[in-house]
């Protein structure tokens, strides 16, 4: 149900361009990569399962393939203005999660910015 609402909301905001009406629509900025690792419809509904599966494989088995890694998501989807995926309400992860009223815990620990951006600003 949530997935359907999300999908529908996204479609509407795409058609009309700017979000209209009383309901603030998620802002989905164009990602940097050519295309997502899976079809967008699939990712909208299942990215959490995909990430969860990959997380356990990486943590416990040391499999560090890039296909479904959170780091990979961040590298493509970091917002052009803020450089993060969860820094402001317009950033990729944050905007959708705010719209769906689902809290996002990944970035309490994981870096919401790509490696190059972090390397630039971290103290030596």
């Amino acid at each position: 149900m949530l997935g359907l609402a999300l999908g529908a909301g996204w479609a509407v905001s795409q058609e009309r361009g700017a979000p209209a009406g009383r309901v603030p629509m998620p802002v989905i900025a164009q990602a940097q990569g050519e295309k997502c690792v899976e079809p967008a419809d699939f990712m909208r509904r299942n990215h959490m399962q995909v990430l969860m599966f990959h997380r356990d494989r990486t943590m416990h088995e040391g499999v560090r393939t890039t296909q479904h890694s959170l780091k990979g998501c961040v590298e493509c989807h970091a917002g052009p203005k803020t450089g993060t995926v969860a820094g402001s309400k317009d950033d990729f992860c944050q905007s959708c999660h705010a719209y769906a009223a689902v809290s996002i815990d990944c970035f309490e620990c994981h870096a919401p910015r790509p490696k190059q951006a972090v390397a630039r600003t971290r103290r030596p």
């Binding site: 416990h60 088995e61 040391g62 560090r64 780091k71 309490e108 620990c109 994981h110």
Partner: protein, 244 residues
Amino acid sequence: MKATDKARRQFLALAGGAVATLTIAPGVLLLAPAHGRVPGEPVTGKVRWGLLIDTTKCATGCDDCVTACNRENGLSGKTRPTDAQWIRKIELKDLRTGRQASLPMMCQHCAAPPCVDVCPTGASFKRADGIVLVDKHICIGCRYCMMACPYKARSLVHEAVTDQNPDVPRGKGTVESCTLCVHRVDRGDLPACVEACAAAGHHAIVFGDLNDPNSDIAKRIARHQTKQVRADFALDPGVRYHGI
């Protein structure tokens, strides 16, 4: 080169075992990292990563390993009781003889880790290749492991963390310790402390596979007298010290 020669060479390369090779197409070989794991394959118990620390080469006053660890893993480097510390330098002195030794102390990556025994959620675990880690997704921050560890190797993150290294996620309310730079080891690099020690010209820390009799670390251990700290606990640490 004749076709038979090439076939022989490929066979020898595989039999030698120094570098794992995979034939993608005729004449094209995929060279896997030195530890022979193809990307995407899970770690196995054939390998056991460990460190050998030569305290006779470790310089008193030098803390390059500590600063390298802090930089790599995004630690503050402060030493208040609430700051995370993954590696620390220790100065030893024999009061009777006056002999001094300096050594780095960190998670000893035990074969029978007490931190894993006491963990109520299964967050503290030992990877198949001997690296002891905390799965922070499952860690509830109870700190039993901190109390169980005889080496005082673990720390709790007390405050919210920002600007993490994307390879090293860290967050408030979870316990953490030396990961043997697992993110670097998995891509075939050396841990940050080992690299820093070599860069400083001391070469006091050797990293390698304890299970491989041909590895540098295994050869050194076979040749020189080395100690596991508090070997009486029978935890079989993967970190060994020479000269203490």
